[in-house]
């Protein structure tokens, strides 16, 4: 896989370094403005059950406006139907040559096929038509990221955010990278920005939770993780990290035990979105032992004020 990327990157470097760079005139750019004004980026993750049928049905419709064609293409993209997406993309590229969206979707379709060289070429073509589009720049950054061009990707993500601050995923990725570099504050700001755009962004919530974990801010972390679990009950990572916070930061072994047990049950019932990498049985066993030993403390630790509240 890696070698393929290397060879491809050589090839694309050759392509992009020579005359084969996508061509677009300044007039094309001017003309492209009507195609970008008023267009907003929406996350493809948002589940859309009707996407498949919308894609197939949309392909049969002729003479659609570019805006409606965008809808069809989005449906195809959400449905992961690369061939259909390519068809509608080509149609869009022909009917609205000046619009960047035809090449954009061709890039997405190529990405689906993991043909990142083509995906990169197409997004660059789209950017020639609308160089100031945050959505397009973001897609360019994504392809760079997939091509392991981390430096280029970061640069492009930043530029994408300059152009369109509402790209939550870009904020999240940059935040995660900052966090990896130990820049927790910067990471926190990034995640906050992402959540400002999309308060339900689970990635941002999780990432911000990690920041709080690193800072031993268990309550804040738990709050965020709870939101994730609420939004995405199958989210393995959120549940594991929630249990870990109870266990390691809160020292609330009982809650931790409960959390792990729940994870185990969900895992058993195949209701988690990812495999659990820890040895749940060992963890539960260890915690059960620990909880038994610490049981009196936990009772005495109860806050009478809470009881009152309950009484109320």
């Amino acid at each position: 896989m890696k070698s393929k990327i290397i060879i491809l990157s050589l090839t694309t470097a050759s392509l992009w370094g020579c005359a084969s760079q996508p061509m677009a005139s300044t007039s094309d750019v001017k003309e492209a403005r009507p195609y970008t004004d008023g267009v907003v980026g929406v996350s493809a993750k948002s589940a859309d059950a009707a996407a498949k049928s919308d894609c197939s049905r949309g392909l049969l419709q002729k003479g659609l406006t570019w805006k409606r064609q965008l809808g069809v293409a989005n449906a195809c993209a959400r449905a992961g139907q690369a061939a259909n997406l390519e068809t509608i993309s080509n149609r869009l590229a022909q009917t609205d040559h000046l619009a960047p969206w035809g090449p954009y979707y061709l890039s997405v379709a190529a990405e689906m096929r993991k043909d990142y060289g083509r995906a990169m070429w197409m997004i660059e073509l789209a950017l020639k038509k609308a160089p100031k589009s945050g959505i397009l720049t973001y897609q360019q950054a994504r392809i760079q990221w997939l091509l392991r061009d981390q430096a280029g990707a970061i640069k492009s993500f930043n530029r994408a955010l300059d152009l369109d601050p509402n790209l939550a995923d870009a904020h999240v990725l940059l935040g995660q990278l900052a966090m990896a570099d130990g820049k927790m504050d910067e990471a926190g700001v990034r995640f906050q920005k992402a959540l400002a755009v999309d308060p339900r962004h689970t990635g941002a919530l999780l990432a911000l939770a990690e920041v709080h974990i690193k800072k031993n801010e268990s309550k804040a972390a738990l709050d965020l993780l709870s939101q994730v679990v609420f939004l995405s009950p199958a989210n393995t990572r959120a549940r594991v990290r929630q249990a870990h916070v109870y266990e390691a930061l809160e020292k609330n072994l009982s809650e931790a035990l409960t959390a792990y047990r729940r994870i185990k049950n969900l895992d058993r019932d195949h209701k988690l979105d990812a495999p659990v990498e820890i040895d749940l049985d060992a963890k539960i066993q260890a915690l059960e032992v620990a909880v038994k030993g610490a049981a009196p403390n936990s009772v005495t630790l109860r806050d009478p004020a809470i009881e009152k509240k309950v009484a109320k």
Binding site: G41, A44, D54, T95, P103, W121, L146
Partner: protein
Amino acid sequence: MSIRRSSVIAGVAFAVGVAALGGVSAAAKTTKAKSELESLRLKAGDEGTNEVKALKTEMLVSSSEVKAIEQVKKLIRKYQGTNMEPDLQFRLAELYMRRAKTARFFEINRESETIVHLAPQLIQKASSRKLVEDAIATYDAILKRYPKFKDLDLVIFNNAFARQSLGQEREAERLYWSLVQNFRNSPLVPDCHLAIGEINFDRANFSFALEHFNSIRKYPDSKVYPYGLYKAAWSHYNLHDPESGLKKLEEVVAYGKYVAEKKVEARLDLRKEALGDMTIFYEDVYPAKDAFTYFKRQAGDLDVGPTILRLAKIYERHSRYNERQVVLNEFIKNIPDSPHIAEVENELIWNFDAMKRKDLAVAEMQKLSELCRDSSSWIKTQRQLAKETKAADPRSACVGMLNDSSLKLAGRWLKVWKKNPAIAVEFADAAEKAFAVYLVEAADSTEAGEARFAYAELLFQRQKYRRASDEYAKVSSGKTTTGTIKHDAGYGAVVSLEKAVGDKWSDSDEKSFHQLAAAYVTANPKGQYRLDVEFKMALIAYEKSRYEEAAPTFIRLGRDYAKTEKGLRSQDLYLDILNLKKDYKGLRDYSKELIRAGSDTQRLAKLQKIHEQAYFLQVQSLEEAKQYDQAIVQYKEFAQANPKSELAEKAWWNALQLHYKQLDYAAGAVAAVEFYERFPTSKNGQDALLRAAQSYESMGQLDRAADVLDRIAKIDTKNSLKWWSLAADFYILSGQTAKARKTLAELKKSGDAKLSAQALDKLLLVERNSSGSGYHEVLQMIATSGVQPQASLARVELVEEMFKAGQTSEAFNEAKKVVGMSEGSPFAKSRARMIQARVLEDEFVKQSVKSRADKVATVLAIKTEKLEKAQQAYQQAIKYGDPKVTVDGLRRLAGCYAHYVDALKTMPIPSGLSAEDGTAFREELSRLSIPLEEKAIETLQQAYKASMKLRIEGPSLVEIKRELRKFNMPVPQDEVVHVDEPGLVLPAVPGVGT
């Protein structure tokens, strides 16, 4: 004189005959004779009938004469020897003479078929000479037998006269002379002098003749007296003595006056004859300037006009034009009211013509025209006189004369001018004026029509077109004009006006032209020049930009007369109108129609060109009207319909430009490619293909862009490598591996090292996903190319293949080469060193520690040495800094340590050792393994940390954790900072669904 004398004699004889005849038959046949006479009366103008009537009369007379002769002969026989016989013989002779006259009639009419048909025998037998000879014989017999006959002088005279008629002039003269000598008192003496004078006059014996004519002067009472004077005058004249002759004639005139005054026999008044002949003599005797006075005096109360006119004629005959002019002018001056003035003026016209003074002739003509005018005082005067004398209207005679002269002279002058138009200009001037004069008074007649036509022709030829047109028009509209002249005049009027106007037509001229043209077409629906006339009408409208008016005519003429020059011009002008109106569709269709109708090659070529241009312009007009879709379709249709047209290429080019103008890049690209296919030699071919390639590229249709680039490479040979390189990239990007492979193979052979290396790189990319040995072969080629860093990367990939295939020694050695590449890729070197490390690790692992007791130290030393080699290799690989190699290297190095620990712990106890020694051996090995175990744990922890640092997740990290757990080492709870792959963001227009 002889005839007159003869008729006198004949009259006497006839009277006798008739009296005799009358005595026989008149009483009984009075009524019948009367009706017969009426039937014999001649009718004027009926010549055929008159001829028959004359014949009948002569036959009747002849019959009567024959009977009379028979009767006289009977009487002669009856009274033979009596006193009556000579009288009867004389009558017989006279009857012969009479019959001779009748026979003469038949002789004269021998050529008449009518008369010969009606009386063939009579005509055949008729002989006047025989009868005259019979008469002479009879006269001679009388003279011989009856010398004392009382009317012997008459017998001699008639005998002489009869002989004179037969040409026996000598005998006749002798008989006349004998009468003069022998019958001095006979009243026939002056007649005999006259006869002798005449005979000698005819012999040109004028002196002798004059003597006899002068002898008559002794007989003033004789009826031949004035004639004798008259002949004497002529004798003088012939004797070159006109003055004496003139004197004699003056005597004749004086005698005539006397006779008139005395009212004697009118026929003796020879004044008119004398005055006439005097003019002949006068010419030789007196000057012209005195002529009028002289003749006025001689004429006395007679009209001197005829005499003057006669004198003028004589002058004319003798080419004495000045004298003639003088005489005529004198007449006009002295008698301006004379009825002859018109004639005199007319004479002057001709005189001036004879004098080569056409200007004066014309002036006189105009004077005469004035004179003849209805309102002229002269006409009024003459009319008054005519009324009194009940004569005909003098104006008609005047006009007749005027017209005759003017027309004749006009014709003559015209004829001269036509022969020498360049030098005889004055003839043309004169002819023109003469025609004008003539036509003022000319009635509407065929002759006048012809004259006016000639006049119009003259004007036309003299380039006096406007007047010519007017005259032609008059001829054409003339009631008496028919046939060719009417047709030609109609056309002449049109053409003349056309020439008069030239290029600039005023509204009034055009109106006139229309009237003339319409008249021509109406009068000559099948006229020879109908085409020309209608063409001109349309042409004028065309020239005045009234295209709607001109167009229908041009269309019709172009259709109906397509084979003629005008027809063709009509077609051309209609084409021009359509062009001027920018009606390119009409122009296109009409030119096509003409092409279909057929013509010669040259014209067809011209029409084809027009058709193409019109077609093209029509499409251009659509373009100008921003009807781009239609324009595109029609441009293409044009190019398809007219593939050989010079404009076909441009049409297609415009179509493709319009596609682009409409931002329809897809259609533009297709059109651009088709442009090249249709017009491969066009200088724009390459541009078109480039445009197509750019369009396809812009639309992300890279396979099509590549196909086009491949074509460009074949045209633009200078830059073919560049285009092929680009095409190859596009083929790769669009997954067209076969085409990419083919193109790259060409590039590989280009001879350009850099390009060749790039081609190999791309080939590798292409071959990577294909089955077969292609990928491996390309790798080999890259590896041996020496181009870095590709060669080192390719080489290391081959090394890895070898290693996987178990060719560890070869892999180790090849890896060594990669590591030794000075310009090799660090990544390649790290991987190569890693392979070496793996080989060394294998050797280390394979190194058994089983040994005898005495060899334990050696075996472990060998094992340790191999560990050190592997360790060194891994450490060197890690030093290159590649994250994956680093983590893998550390993990595998830790594995080596762990393996050594395991090998020590499980090392078989050498044979021969006691249990106690065995336990001690085992404890020693355990002790030896502790630092190695710590080393393994430490290295694993380094691997873990590196994974964390380098964010290497996945199997590698899981493996590290498992290894750590094996050593009962706590696994750090810190997660690798999880970096989510950025999710796809889709563009959406709020409020717009699918």
